[in-house]
């Protein structure tokens, strides 16, 4: 099936089990990621965006548990996988790039050895081949092979993030999950890294699930964008359409929260109130206490994510007929 999506997530539910009941951090999330696509996942802290990335790789440990739904990577159900299956899935098919490159790297091992390790532990090649591969990967991400015997502390923040990307690419997985990969970096370095990711994507043809709180960044680099609020998807659309015509009041508010660099200096409104306490999420639509267009039914009846036009889904009663 060449047209089947590389990643298919259906009704995913992740709960954090606490002493005073459970918190649904991800609540019925569904989306597809096509081959070669960059899907952006945007949301604020507590929206569940990082939890989704970890669920896809089954990296969640107690108190978090996947309590429902389905995650299919390249036709195989991740939730049914055994430990050996999962080992093959991680790195070989799906790799994760975290925000904090400093903690992702081992401080007492050279960067070259760390990349070679990733190659060795998953492929039956010799040490020499693995080192050659490490050198090639360092070159690929723009670090330069001469730094192969450097330690992470000798690298700048941007170079460390490049090294982490090199490790993620070690086995050329078709899917990269990037969780705020540039958030800790300065904007100039961020731009360089994003450019590099774009070049690598052209060369290697992988797909990206890009997770960030920065919608303007996301709209720029993604083909499609999904907006997450309090564990639920509220809107999904083509990136440019989302920017030009946001439908969900939360998406509109989010786009009206960041000042733009050029053009008229508009008064920002932001969104009133605060993100919800997930221990007791609001009834009905979870955004209703902060919504400027709230109606009576919004507090009672949770809206479903519904197709509204080509490639656009919105979960909002404003658009139900």
């Amino acid at each position: 099936m060449p047209d089947a999506p590389l990643l298919r997530v259906r009704d995913l539910r992740v709960e954090y089990l606490g002493p005073r009941g459970s918190v649904a951090a991800v609540d019925g999330v569904s989306f597809d990621l096509a081959r070669g696509e960059t899907l952006g996942l945007a949301g604020e802290s507590g929206s569940g965006k990082s939890t989704i990335a970890q669920a896809i790789l089954r990296l969640l440990g107690p108190p978090a548990a996947i309590t429902g739904g389905s995650i299919i990577v390249d036709g195989a159900e991740v939730l049914d996988m055994s430990e050996p299956d999962l080992r093959a899935l991680r790195w070989r098919q799906v790799a994760l790039v975290f925000q904090s490159a400093l903690t992702a790297l081992n401080p007492v091992m050279t960067v070259g050895d760390q990349i070679a390790d990733a190659v060795l532990s998953h492929q039956g090649t010799g040490r020499r081949r693995a080192r050659e591969r490490a050198a090639h990967l360092l070159d690929l991400v723009g670090i330069g092979t001469e730094r192969i015997d450097s330690y992470p502390h000798e690298f700048s923040g941007g170079m460390r993030q490049r090294a982490v990307i090199a490790i993620a690419l070690a086995l050329e997985p078709p899917l990269l999950l990037m969780d705020e990969p540039t958030t800790a970096l300065d904007v100039v370095v961020q731009r360089e890294i994003l450019h590099q990711i774009g070049e690598l994507k052209k060369k290697l043809g992988f797909s990206i699930l890009f997770i960030t709180h920065d919608v303007s960044l996301l709209v720029e680099i993604s083909t499609r964008v999904a907006i997450l609020y309090a564990g639920k998807l509220v809107e999904m659309a083509d990136a440019k359409e989302l920017l030009q015509d946001p439908r969900h009041p939360y998406t509109r508010g989010l786009l009206a929260s960041s000042p733009s660099l050029r053009g008229p200096r508009l008064k920002l409104t932001g969104i009133g109130g605060s993100p919800p306490d997930m221990r007791s999420p609001p009834s009905g639509c979870r955004f209703h206490p902060r919504c400027p267009d709230v109606m009576v039914r919004c507090s009672e009846d949770p809206p479903l994510l519904t197709q509204r036009g080509a490639g656009r889904s919105v979960a909002c009663h404003l658009y139900s007929t």
């Binding site: 904007v187 100039v188 961020q190 731009r191 919608v215 920017l243 008064k267 920002l268 009133g272 902060r290």
Partner: protein
């Protein structure tokens, strides 16, 4: 624009700051500030923009007198406070200059109520006496920052990040300061509540005539909030202009690089287009070489750049830059009349 230039409330002149780094036996010195000057006027917001390590927080901490400079002057109402109160800032200085920090989680004490946080400065600085007066002052402060009165009885952990940052601002306002130094006040907050804090800072400028220093790495928010924007690179303030002018016609190559790197989906076409020619790593702050610190990354570098840091060159009304491309500027060792000194 008024013709009479009012004098600045708080001013720094040629501040330098060196830190000792490294181990016991290797004493290396890191240059955090290399002669920075700026002035804050009443009812004006100045943004200080730069990457991490550029020295912008060091400037704020020196202005708040949490840190002593290696050399340079701090002038409050034109008086050299390092000469008059060299060791520790006086209570009066600390009343007039208040600071808020990036982390609204770390700056409040979790065992005390919000009311306690606001009462302490009121009592310490003699702004309120007696139970009734204290209670009224706390309510008024919370109202000023758009928080409900019942927040007073809550503890910090019961509040969201945005509410906590508002409490931190209320605490700073308790002593009726003239200057508010805000070090990345919104960078740890969720996107949807950032605008509220920026709008609050703007309102405090308008209503109370506060002079504010807004420190950020986000040029777009600097343009949104600040009347003037100063750009820092490796311990130097390299350019200063009215915020809109800086965005419209940046003169320093670093400013141009910075502006080109900002995600701006509305203005840009395809991903990663318009990539600036920024190359090389961060500037060396330990044993810095002579010359302009941006020389190693600058697309337009010339021979002079590696020899000497240029002085301040005026490129327009209220717009100045330190770059050899524009000119040698005033002598770097002489007075810097243009540094952050607008004709108002």
């Amino acid at each position: 624009m008024t013709l009479v230039a009012d004098s600045p409330v708080l001013e720094i002149e040629r501040l330098t700051k060196w830190f000792s780094v490294g181990g016991l036996f290797s004493s290396k010195r890191l240059r955090a500030l290399a002669g920075a000057s700026l002035a804050l006027h009443r009812r004006e917001i100045v943004a200080l923009v730069g990457e991490s390590g550029s020295g912008k927080s060091t400037i704020a901490r020196i202005m708040a007198r949490l840190l002593a400079p290696s050399s340079g002057r701090i002038l409050l109402d034109g008086k050299d406070v390092l000469a008059s109160e060299p060791r520790r800032a006086s209570l009066a200085y600390r009343r007039r200059i208040q600071m808020i920090f990036q982390d609204p989680f770390g700056s409040l004490n979790s065992v005390h109520t919000i009311a306690h946080h606001l009462e302490r400065p009121l009592l310490l600085h003699g702004k309120a006496r007696g139970h009734g007066e204290l209670h009224d002052s706390v309510r008024a402060l919370l109202a000023t920052v758009d928080l409900d009165a019942d927040v007073a009885m809550k503890h910090p952990y019961e509040l969201s990040g945005g509410q906590r940052q508002r409490v931190a601002i209320a605490r700073a306002l308790a002593v009726d300061p003239d200057v508010l130094l805000a070090d990345e006040p919104i960078s740890m907050l969720d996107v949807s509540i950032r605008a509220g804090v920026l709008n609050l800072m703007e309102r405090l400028k308008e209503e109370r005539g506060l002079a504010e220093l807004y420190i950020t790495h986000d040029v777009a928010s600097a343009r949104y909030l600040a009347d003037r924007t100063l750009v820092m690179y490796a311990g130097y303030i390299v350019e200063g202009a009215p915020s809109d002018e800086l965005i419209a016609s940046p003169a320093h190559p670093y400013t141009r690089t910075l502006l080109a790197a900002v995600p701006d989906p509305g203005a840009r076409g395809s991903p990663a287009s318009g990539l600036p020619a920024a190359k090389g790593g961060a500037a060396a702050l330990v044993n810095p070489p002579p010359g302009c610190p941006f020389a190693s990354r600058c697309p337009d570098v010339m021979e002079a750049c590696r020899r000497e840091m240029p002085g301040v060159e005026q490129v327009g009304p209220n717009h100045w830059v330190r770059c050899h491309l524009v000119g040698p500027g005033g002598s770097p060792s002489g007075p810097d009349p243009a540094q952050g000194e607008p004709a108002r």
